[in-house]
């Protein structure tokens, strides 16, 4: 093979190595400094902190952004809010399985969201199907994720899970942003919006948009129902109480959904389907708490048409706690304390140190490689020019 061809191939290999190194470094920076500012990851950190101090979660709240903003564990003793934006029951199932089986945390009661939109195919469509794979892949095997995200190959899933920086360059802007992160408490995120500040037309438009997003061209997701059933079966197997909650909505949204129905059926039919499936697994051993109409005439307690704001969260959380304590829930959790708090903290610090060393090491290595590349190129250029200089004199 010609010398030039070999040289070219060597350069290509070097270029690929440098690219891989830079991507790995950026990936570490992204995971450490960008991802940790995202709500779902902050929640994970909050959960890790929580379980380092507790071996039991009395009330585990699951759901999407409705739960996320509505349940303030400060007012519900022993509660943790696992709700996360656009969470569907597939994620809920794997999250619960992880808490029980991997982290060995005792859960007394799971409080599951049963809102009108909870089972919409919108939540199980492509963009939201294990979209936080970088987190979920830490406790869900990629083969299981592949079962749900059938279109993606294992390599694609692996890259998305292990190299989350790919395609996320724009998110580095967060490092230079002065915007303060929303207040978080045991998984709850403070919603500052006030629906009452909007005009009647604006409120109607928001309700209309919400309706369109969740119900226009959408159906009840079979996948969500399947994992909803699996979640309840898991709860039953582990002797965990199940409560279903309907979160507050605005009057405008209530009117639209009542008048037009949802998923081409009435709201009553929708809940009949939901409760029939619940009864198949749990029989009568579950509770339903309905707060859908709680803030119909109190838009000041809502952030928008179906999310409560921080004022509403306090009122609702107090109310839920009051109602839950009235229920005759069997207690299956022990109050055994763990004494490994310091050990876990130490481990976290150790792994942080290792990451930092790795970042420094990889940065230095890529700088050296880049230097070598430049040196080689200049040398090649020099040799070339010296050759061309010498030739005529001969």
């Amino acid at each position: 093979m010609k010398k030039e061809n070999i040289k070219f191939m060597k350069r290509m290999v070097l270029l690929i190595v440098i690219i891989i190194l830079i991507i790995l470094i950026l990936n570490i920076i992204y995971t450490k400094y960008v991802l940790t500012k995202k709500n779902f990851y902050r929640k994970e950190i909050a959960y890790q902190n929580y379980i380092s101090n507790h071996s039991e979660i009395k009330y585990a709240f699951f759901g999407d952004s409705h739960t996320f903003h509505a349940i303030h564990p400060k007012f519900i003793s022993g509660a943790f809010n696992f709700g996360s934006g656009t969470e569907n029951y597939i994620k809920t199932y794997y999250l619960l399985e992880r808490i029980i089986n991997k982290d060995n945390i005792k859960v007394g009661t799971i409080v599951l969201q049963a809102d009108l939109e909870t089972f919409s195919t919108w939540l199980t469509n492509e963009p939201f199907l294990f979209n936080e794979i970088e987190l979920y892949s830490q406790f869900v095997p990629l083969s299981k994720i592949k079962e749900v995200r059938k279109k993606d190959s294992m390599i694609e899933l692996f890259i998305e899970a292990k190299l989350p920086v790919i395609g996320k360059g724009k998110e580095f802007g967060i490092l230079f942003s002065n915007e303060n992160l929303s207040e978080m408490y045991e998984g709850w995120i403070k919603n500052y919006n006030d629906f009452s500040n909007l005009t009647e037309t604006e409120r109607l438009n928001i309700a209309e948009d919400g309706y369109k997003v969740h119900f226009q061209n959408q159906q009840i997701s079979n996948l969500s129902i399947e994992y909803f059933i699996k979640t309840m079966e898991l709860a039953k197997k582990n002797n965990i109480n199940v409560i279903l909650v309907k979160y507050p909505i605005s009057k405008e949204y209530q009117d639209i959904t009542s008048q037009r129905g949802i998923y081409n059926i009435s709201k009553e039919e929708y809940y009949r389907i939901l409760f029939d499936n619940t009864e198949k697994v749990l029989g009568d051993n579950y509770y339903v708490l309905d707060y859908q109409n709680l803030f119909l005439n109190q838009p000041e307690d809502l952030g928008d048409t179906y999310h409560v704001n921080y004022k509403g969260a306090e009122i609702l959380s107090r109310k839920i706690y009051e109602d839950i304590t009235k229920l005759n829930l069997s207690s299956n959790s022990s109050s055994q304390q763990q004494n490994n708090v310091i050990t876990i903290d130490k481990n976290t610090i150790e792994s942080d140190k290792i990451n930092l060393i790795l970042v420094i090491f990889l940065t230095l290595e890529s700088i050296i490689l880049l230097g070598v590349l430049i040196y080689l190129m200049q040398k090649t250029k020099f040799n070339k020019s010296s050759k061309s200089f010498k030739t005529p004199s001969r």
Partner: protein
């Protein structure tokens, strides 16, 4: 298999390395096998349609070549054309034709027994059908000797870089290259890889990002007025350009790596000063195909002026329908046909007008104005190309200027602010590169720079693709045609 997939990133190096390692006599077979695999990664069963077309046109070529009389040659040509156009019509236009008959029947009160077929269009059917037709016509005209090696002919139709979306090649350019031996040449491989890289940038960083906004707004255009509609329409112009020219760059680049030169399909069309120039720069392989095999046989421009206008209009109308079985495509073609006719008819008047306003004294300003006007005209036509229905297109066209505002914070655009910034910056970057390419040629520009700077530029481009690309496996727009 999509170019913008992990699978292709594995497939391509394996194919190229094996290609160069194999002795020359086995290479065509290796490329053909790779092409078959490439195509079967879409809908495997449709490979049979492709094989059927190849068999027909290969046989037609042999028959035409062996025929003793002109009438027999013509007969075989007609048979081949009927088979090609028949297959294309069956898959692409059967439902369209039937639905329109049904609508007409409803108007006259006839109970038409509507039959609709429900299967997907074989990917790239319009492209390889046209490429096959060009072979048969060239053999018929005697411009190209018949290809006796069936395998090489199959590779001519199926060569994977250009199989599903062109460039629509001519036998004169491609067939002989498939016979020739191509050694590994670092300069050529390097050029090919750079072109592929640029194509990937245009596709995953620009086109697929713009698609998020365009798809959101064009899915429900009646939810929007004014600025979002303008934004989506302008973005679509760049999206379709970056999508299709990105595909072409990857196709041409990957073929070049293997030593095969495919024809250029785009020459910076949005720098055109008129619509006729636009068509000399946009989808060149298709426009020259229509020119050679449709417009010229119709009489071209060597007929009466009225007939020239008719020929032009019909050519663009048919070219519109080639893109898709929908009246929106026909209207898009008709718009361009009308633009060209109008441009021809008013050429002298417009020249006088420019002189009277003194624009001729400021040629740069005149050129800029012409480029802007051409872009606007092309973009108006794109509305019909992109809209899902005629009523959507009409709504968009009539609401572009109503409710103009710069405050889009409460409008769902499908892209958040950082994404919009990336979109704008990447368009500006691409247009700057195109500007340099238009003036002095980007390769010449780069060759004047020191090697380390060039490598850093390539490195940044790759990192830009990896960090700012949209990796959702979005298909290429022209695959549907």
């Amino acid at each position: 298999m999509l170019f913008n997939s992990i699978e292709f990133l594995i497939f391509f190096p394996v194919v190229v390395l094996t290609y160069f390692l194999l002795p020359h006599k086995f290479r065509w077979f290796w490329l053909l096998s790779a092409s078959v695999y490439f195509y079967m990664r879409f809908i495997p069963i449709y490979i049979l349609v492709l094989f059927f077309l190849i068999a027909i046109d290969y046989t037609a070529g042999l028959m035409i070549s062996a025929a003793k009389t002109a009438s027999r040659k013509k007969l075989f040509l007609i048979m081949s054309l009927c088979a090609n156009i028949g297959i294309l019509s069956f898959f692409k236009y059967f439902n369209f034709f039937n639905l329109n008959i049904d609508k007409l029947a409803t108007l006259i009160g006839w109970n038409y027994p509507l039959v609709l077929l429900s299967f997907a269009l074989p990917i790239g059917l319009s492209f390889h059908t046209f490429q096959s037709i060009s072979y048969v016509i060239e053999v018929y005209k005697g411009n190209y000797k018949v290809e006796k090696n069936g395998g090489i002919y199959a590779l001519y139709v199926m060569f994977f870089p250009q199989l599903v979306a062109g460039p629509i090649e001519r036998p004169q350019n491609l067939l002989h290259q498939l016979h020739e031996k191509h050694d590994f040449d670092f300069q050529r491989v390097s050029n090919g890889l750079k072109l592929m890289l640029w194509g990937f940038f245009k596709k995953v960083v620009i086109a697929d990002r713009l698609a998020l906004l365009v798809n959101t707004i064009y899915a429900n255009p009646t939810n929007y007025t004014g600025t979002p509609l303008i934004l989506a329409t302008v973005f679509f112009a760049f999206q379709i350009y970056c999508d299709f020219s990105g595909y072409s760059d990857i196709a041409i680049g990957s073929a070049r790596v293997m030593g095969i030169n495919l024809m250029y399909n785009f020459r910076r069309p949005y720098f055109s000063k008129s619509i006729s120039e636009f068509w000399r720069r946009w989808h060149i392989s298709l426009s020259t195909w229509f020119r050679d095999y449709f417009y010229i046989p119709l009489g071209g421009s060597r007929v009466s002026l009225l007939r020239v206008y008719f020929n032009l209009f019909v050519t663009f109308l048919v070219s519109g329908l080639w893109h898709g079985a929908n009246w929106t495509f026909a209207v898009w073609g008709a718009f361009h046909g009308f633009y060209i006719m109008f441009g021809k008819a008013t050429y002298k008047f417009r020249k006088k007008l420019a002189d009277s306003y003194g624009l001729s004294k400021f040629p740069k300003l005149h050129t800029i104005l012409q480029i802007i006007i051409t872009f606007i005209l092309a973009d108006i036509a794109w509305i019909f190309f992109r809209a899902n229905t005629m009523s959507d297109a009409v709504y968009i066209l009539t609401h572009l200027l109503s409710g103009l505002t710069l405050n889009l914070s409460s409008v769902d655009l499908g892209l958040d602010n950082p994404e919009l910034v990336v979109a704008f910056v990447s368009i500006i970057f691409m247009e700057s590169v195109q500007f340099v390419q238009e003036r002095i040629g980007i390769m010449q520009f780069l060759s004047r720079k020191p090697a380390w700077l060039r490598w850093i530029i390539y490195l940044l481009l790759i990192l830009g693709i990896l960090l700012f690309g949209v990796f959702k496996g979005m298909s290429f727009i022209y695959f549907q045609f």
